[in-house]
Amino acid sequence: MSDKTLIDMEAEIAESQKRENICLEENLIYRKPEDTLIDTPMHYCPGCGHSTAHKIFMEVISEMGIQEETIGVAPVGCSVFAYHYMNVDMQEAAHGRACAVGTAIKRIMPEKYVFTYQGDGDLAAIGTAETVHAANRGENILVIFINNGIYGMTSGQMAPTSLPGMVTTTTPFGRDVSIQGYPLRISDMLASLPGVAYITRQSVHKPNNVKRTKKAMQKALEYQKKGLGFCLVEIVSNCPSNLKVTPLQANQFVEDKMIPFYPLGDIKTPEGK
């Protein structure tokens, strides 16, 4: 016979269900990374995918234990201050040139993990040549490409990846493809190059997408370790401030409009997609 009465047991259960008895270190299942994500407020707008991408990438670096072997290159754009949040050695590149800077770092120190983190203007407008040539050479680096179809930092101009009809400050009547050309599916273009090992398109607007993006980042770093070639993780993302909508509405725009144009999934894998 049990020493405890039913009432005692129920009291015990009620007690253990109290918040303070759940929020104990032994029950912890998720806390933001304390080693690789610098504990400081991020300047990004509420709901911005940049913050999410920073967070999960730093989780990957922490979980893989490669903080001391990683060197990153920050772009010009909203994420120009990426080095204030990522606790790894980093260099700030000139606008568009991150792939050139990353190439040099990797050529000098092939044993390190090297990544660039770039937006759509940095990678696919001013930096197109550096991006294409790094991919063509099969530079053994990871490029994290945040594609939100707009220029965030400079307050909302058209990007090479802006959708047809999209209203921006430089396309106030909507992007007209006969004048401004078509949106650039740069990831699909790069995938045609033999030096490219892995290109995938993901997003961070829903929990499952966040999980998949994190896995993609980890895979890309594992491929880098094996020396398989150029890896790019594109993250189709939002810009609530410049679309002048709430974060949830901006994510709905990602779901309804961006993703149909930039479909998610692996575009090229080393196994041969």
Partner: protein, 86 residues
């Protein structure tokens, strides 16, 4: 029989009230408060104890303000010999 209990702790000073967590939570645990933090954001708060520790909120949170706890409770089986309290 096991019961999964979750709880989240929100760093309200770092929360920007973007509401992504509110939308992501399958149990409607999270809502936006009427008060603001020192940056002027109306921050997220928990409004019930239905959390299962699924981590959806922490996954989507851009600013990494959510810490998640999960505890599995084993509920006791009721036996025939129950001694009633006097």
């Amino acid at each position: 029989m096991a019961k999964v209990l979750g709880e989240i702790v929100i760093d309200i000073e770092r929360c920007k009230g973007c509401e992504l967590c509110v939308d992501a939570c399958p149990e409607e645990v999270i809502s936006i408060s009427d008060t603001i933090n020192s940056k002027g954001y109306q921050y997220a708060i928990t409004v019930n104890h239905d959390c299962t520790g699924c981590m959806n909120c922490a996954l989507v949170c851009p600013d990494a303000v959510i810490t998640v706890y999960r505890k599995v409770i084993r509920e006791p089986r009721k036996t025939a010999n129950v001694v009633e309290a006097n």
